[in-house]
Point group: C3
């Protein structure tokens, strides 16, 4: 069999490491396209002189372009037969990526648990992305529900990894070089609000909204070399429970992050992803908006230039962000919530 039909649940072995195809050189072309697909306006990623003035070698590539590229590598080996992408944890951005760098990735199987109906099972992987020098640039865990090839096949002993609920801020400082904050121009960045201006519990309505077209999410998802068929094949999708193409969940993360500029203009880089959940699917024609809340604040050891804000970024579809649609005490989400992402962002002090 020369074609890759994807792994089924019984094809995974606890502890194995999978080396993924295809290494990918990210260029200014990818950066431009990423920008045009989402419209982020963070100054550090947009301007070479701005980035260099504060201490970066070059303007870094948007963290989420790095995330999607690494994620895309793992799809053919991990989630081609996935029913659902269940969650993320322990995501850490470990080094900035610049145009011209080449990313490649491996995944380690860190957990396996057959579902009670025996038709599927949950696979937990830790995926690590590297640059051309072999330096780790990103590491994260995700778990997906994967179909079994054969309901009758025996299941491995259940093993559910113990994942941290939040990334320790002591581990996240490496992602940004030591910054010269005197050179950080708060006019050019678009907001005077810095670390000290955000309070725990504060909620921010990001105001703007974007409607998503089929061409946009398809172009984006191919940019990441993520070729999961559900995102591209309208004919095949007609036979599914949704009846139409499903938008890659990462597309929502990027849209929400770009929208969050309006209110978080100086949250210039994502240092860690604590948790993430795709609450409901997004389809072409839906309109996405977002709100954030400040969950925590952390000083970073040895760093007086920046602090870390722990943010919850909630994306909704087809309703105003000003509603602050949320989950209730039982964890049940309001109508329209599509993403609940918990992350650490770095911000000038």
């Amino acid at each position: 069999m020369k074609t890759n039909a994807g792994r089924f649940f019984e094809d995974f072995t606890l502890g194995e490491t999978i080396r993924h195809a295809t290494p990918r050189t990210l260029t200014h072309g990818d950066v431009a396209l990423y920008g045009a697909l989402y419209g982020p306006r963070f100054a550090v990623q947009s301007s070479e002189p701005f980035a260099q003035a504060i201490g970066y070698k070059h303007a870094p590539v948007d963290d989420l372009l790095v995330f999607h590229t690494v994620f895309g590598k793992s799809v053919p080996d991990v989630s081609l037969n996935a029913v659902a992408n269940l969650g993320y944890a322990e995501g850490r951005f470990l080094a900035p990526v610049f145009a011209g760098d080449t990313l490649w990735a491996i995944s380690e199987v860190i957990g396996l648990k057959e579902s009670s109906n025996r038709e599927t099972g949950v696979v937990y992987v830790r995926t690590t992305g590297f640059n051309q020098h072999g330096e780790r640039v990103l590491s994260y865990c995700r778990w997906v529900m994967v179909r079994k090839r054969d309901k009758a096949s025996p299941a491995p002993e259940a093993h559910v990894p113990d994942l941290a609920g939040v990334v320790d801020p002591a581990e996240i400082a490496r992602h940004a070089p030591k910054l010269t904050i005197d050179s950080y121009d708060f006019d050019l960045s678009g907001s005077a609000d810095r670390f000290s201006d955000y309070e725990i519990g504060e909620r921010i309505d990001h105001v703007d909204a974007m409607t998503v077209e089929e061409a946009e999410h398809q172009i984006a998802t191919r940019l990441y070399q993520n070729t999961a068929r559900v995102h591209f094949d309208a004919m095949g999708a007609a036979a599914t429970r949704f009846g139409k193409r499903l938008i890659y969940g990462g597309h929502v993360i990027s849209l929400a992050r770009a929208l969050s500029y309006n209110g978080l203009a100086n949250a210039f880089t994502i240092a860690a992803i604590n948790a993430g959940r795709h609450v409901a699917p997004l389809f072409s024609g839906d309109t996405v908006s977002a709100w954030s809340s400040v969950v925590d604040r952390a000083d970073l050891r040895g760093r007086d230039d920046i602090g870390a804000l722990r943010l919850r970024l909630v994306a909704v579809k087809n309703r105003p962000s000003a509603d602050f649609a949320d989950r209730d005490a039982d964890g049940k989400y309001d109508e329209g919530v599509i993403l609940d992402l918990d992350y650490w962002a770095l911000m000038p002090k």
Copy 2:
């Protein structure tokens, strides 16, 4: 308030200067995307060797990509609460921009005039774009009708700036280096017609036509980091008088300019914008075509390499360009006219 809700009419002060976020490095990626969104075929911008052979350091970035990038910077500060973009004047391209240059912009408020209904007012700004060396690359005036926050709030004394009806051709020669016209290859540029072949009063039907899709104008407008909500939010747009997303007016300018290659292949760069008006809105699904007329011709002092053609570029929707839809003696436009742009182009002699 951490989010930018945009300025209302009463927030502007005559004479104030606004320094805009976000500086933006334009790369070969942006240039490629611009080309794919409109399809321009001017040889100087398309080919590095062609540009270098005639005297450019590198192939310059399309003038309109520069214009839209600078314009995009001004949107969050000037026109987020605009009802209409009324016009342009005194636009001058002052230096070529190359891939790798970083653009940033300021706007000076040069006029204010409350509307008679007291619900809106016209704001006049002169926006100037700079490169990373602090050199001016573009300057233009535009005026927009902006909502008042409160109808009852007092209005400043009316001041309407005195703007030139046409940019003096003596001021426009700087935009292009001294060219070696012997090296300008009229086969490769696509036409043998040069400055001396165009006569005042001549009209050119640009023949071709392009239908615009939602994904295209959204990608383009985000490329310029212009995040005015009306272009992206179908849900919000449903409640407006149009009931749908409005296409950024600059998208029409770029389409019409690209279409004008067929008939003006050697009008290789825009040196100045004398006047511009978005006569009617464009929506997804509409088909755009264009025609031009030669308004004037000017020799440029000290330049025997190039001359300037003053052109009127008229874009229409959903009707053939061959109709030469125009305005009548009273200034009333024919059905279908969407853009009336008066500019100076440079052309080899």
Copy 3:
């Protein structure tokens, strides 16, 4: 007449050479956009270090981006008044193209034959693409049915060129440098299958499928500066026999080639196009899938690093690739077949 209305059949002269506008510098921006439009995952083109490890100076530009760029140059001079693009032969990729190279092209008229109804005629051209050093990078023949301006105008004597049915594999080795196969990493390339693993007669179902949107094919076709009106003008298209925009045939070739990665991951470059036929048109909303068969295998003189596989790549619309829709003994194609391409690919031994 300053606009190009395109040549009609009687405007072509046997033996004449046409030098095409517009030279085009291909950059990393064009490469990124090409990738995002089709989603190819071949490691050689995706990764600079992968390409360099095996002996390339840089990651080469996708062969089909080269093909479409050269093809696009020829459209305004050859096929603006074409009724149909009938076929390709003797296509040879002669040197790798890298980001930063500038392509330009000429076409020689090698055959002319008026149709029996005297309303059209078939024009045969050999189009050659060059880089900025004047080196040939691609040469191919195509023949198109072109309208006559006037049915009554006299036709030239019919001349149909004698074109090879298959490119001699002895001529195709130049396209790839001598490779260090020990450094070719079959994990990173996505498949362990190499030259010796493919057998003549073998058929491969490429499994995946992609639905095409108007915005996607328009962006792609403009990327190639191919501005043939039928691809862009919905208003004009409404009056044609199809009633809608026709997708550029090259878009289908690129989609099918990208889909073929799944099953042919190490067929890393196209060395020659033996024959190609656009069997039926593709429209927006259609879903494309593909299958391949191995027609022949060839050792290449003096090359123990690579061999050549002669492949037939068949694209279908709106039906599963697993049906292996084909042509019957009379040459009649099954419902849904849109492309039948016969090419030589190079593969590590």
